[in-house]
Subunit: 347 residues, 2 copies
Amino acid sequence: MSKGRVTVIDIAHAAGVSKSTVSLVLQGSSLVNEATRAKVNAVIRELGYVYNRGAANLRQAKSKIVGIVVNDLTNSFFAELAVGVDMVVQSAGYVQFLSNTGESIDRQREVVASMREHGISGLIVSPARGTEAADFKSLTTAGIPVVIVVRNIPGAKVSSLVSDNFGGASAAVEHLAGLGHRRIAFMGGFANTAVFAERLGGYRDALAKAGIAFDDDLVVATAPSRAGGVEAVGRAMLLAHKPTAAVCFNDAVAFGVCDGLRARRLEPGVDFAVVGFDDVIEAESAVPALTTVSVDPQGMGRRAAQLLLKQINSGKVEAEAIVSAVRLVVRQSCGAGLDITARRVVS
Amino acid sequence: MSKGRVTVIDIAHAAGVSKSTVSLVLQGSSLVNEATRAKVNAVIRELGYVYNRGAANLRQAKSKIVGIVVNDLTNSFFAELAVGVDMVVQSAGYVQFLSNTGESIDRQREVVASMREHGISGLIVSPARGTEAADFKSLTTAGIPVVIVVRNIPGAKVSSLVSDNFGGASAAVEHLAGLGHRRIAFMGGFANTAVFAERLGGYRDALAKAGIAFDDDLVVATAPSRAGGVEAVGRAMLLAHKPTAAVCFNDAVAFGVCDGLRARRLEPGVDFAVVGFDDVIEAESAVPALTTVSVDPQGMGRRAAQLLLKQINSGKVEAEAIVSAVRLVVRQSCGAGLDITARRVVS
DNA sequence: GACAAAATTTGGAACGTTCCAAATAATCGT
DNA sequence: ACGATTATTTGGAACGTTCCAAATTTTGTC
């Protein structure tokens, strides 16, 4: 009794009731008398009992654990996504297994398998590059709901939640064109990804609508990172007919572009307009504040978690593809309204 | 057989052996004959068996789960820390429960309790502000090792892994003094935290060693964020006797300081020297590249995980306080070696 | 071919919970 | 006070694994 952990039987014994009654109390059943409930709870506190969820969900196969795997936790976009998921998952009484794949498919396979062994009752995943639809087949056939976020996977029969990449890029271009720009570049991102294709699509569409001819030289694909942004602006400035503005694959690239511009003695927001994509936290406080397409990663995480929990609770795994609206947040890096509000943020 | 999940008994039956043998195969025991092992493994693959860890660690109380709770996953310092932990934990066959407290003590208590119910066999925690030593008492008395990282907690009888805050700040000041600076400010951070006290201590010590008088006006405490940095530089520039350099509480503050300087038409690294603390990923690629005290958060995460695993495996919970060495990485924001290497990074 | 030793396999009995069906206690109307 | 309800409580029997001790098979030796 003093050795080993204290179990439901120990407290049943100490409280003078049966283990069944204790179990009832534990799950807050209304069947149990108020007096005995109080008694049992008192003993529970006194003996320092800790509930053993492992044992519990051995019996009843619903586990209160969800898995979340992201491709790059180092990127604050995904970190915030994870925080959003954590919020709703936590307040629903669940707990999250989180793993980082670092874009490695093998790692992803491993962690998903491991999570499955641990009995997760749902999975949210921002898949590594090259993930195939088949990779989640075994989960879904086992009736475990899966929600894919951020990056869509072509033929997968699972729910997905992606942001409106087409619309966002389109809005960015439209805004720049409205400011009078005609040479608008598209910078950063790996060309063989779905997200890239969608954003580029929006870019081309808006260009066409604004009556601007598409110029292949103006799309310069690089790594979707700060370093990639520096590289992109370097390449673009080698052109005979240089751009005067850029919509960037994401905010990291946009920051890199700003760095690259400064290194060339060009001031972003004044000599060159740049707009990002994502609206990470630093976008607001950077100098100049970044005009960007806000996708609210934390909100996306929350929505993904809600979607997953809904599916877990309803028991039905019918796939649902939802695209999350985005909005253009204009700040200073695009050069709009320079005279009026430019200095407000730095005060 | 076709309904419900496939268990060890199913495959025992299908392979014509006993469940005990299957169990032996599962844990890679050397007691089992090579032929039967192959046979069993074949059946396992064929029937699509998935191991039930919940059931397993009901029997044997070692769980292959570690918990990690951080105070702010949105801060890339902690995100990288988590990634470091994940790496070693994952390759040791463990899986991590990760939760974010957002500096809320209540939340922290909840998640720690929840993790405990799930049977974690160890915990790594970067405690929320205001955490007390008693908060982990119940874990340690249950024989569950706890490693506190980043922020130390005064009287806690658990292992800790913090970086050499004193030494780092000291090295930063020493370097700036060596460059000829006499008015060196200490910017950012909440004054009532242990980390702040340690770094400020190093700052004062190095100042004294360099024969520079300490000036209370030059330490300006703000939020440890980018916005806080902007604020700090604003306040410092109001002084009659302005500083010419600053060591910042962390890199976020340092970036904010750079922003604030630019807003005042001062070029960081040229007109004013700034050095950060942490060496987050962006420090290297920013313009100007940030001179900073490198604490290698990912490496810290790895070390913390190793320490924890060591304690889990050895079974002994004797506390061990280790302080992780740091080193000053000089880049451009401090103005050192401007002529020689300044342009290399932006190429 | 018999015996010992080594190698391999195997039935239970746990582990800590939740269910179910059934038992018991309390309440009520008459 | 007596059935009839209704409110509470309660023993097993699972859940899927691992361990133990013991049983069985194989191998080796003379």
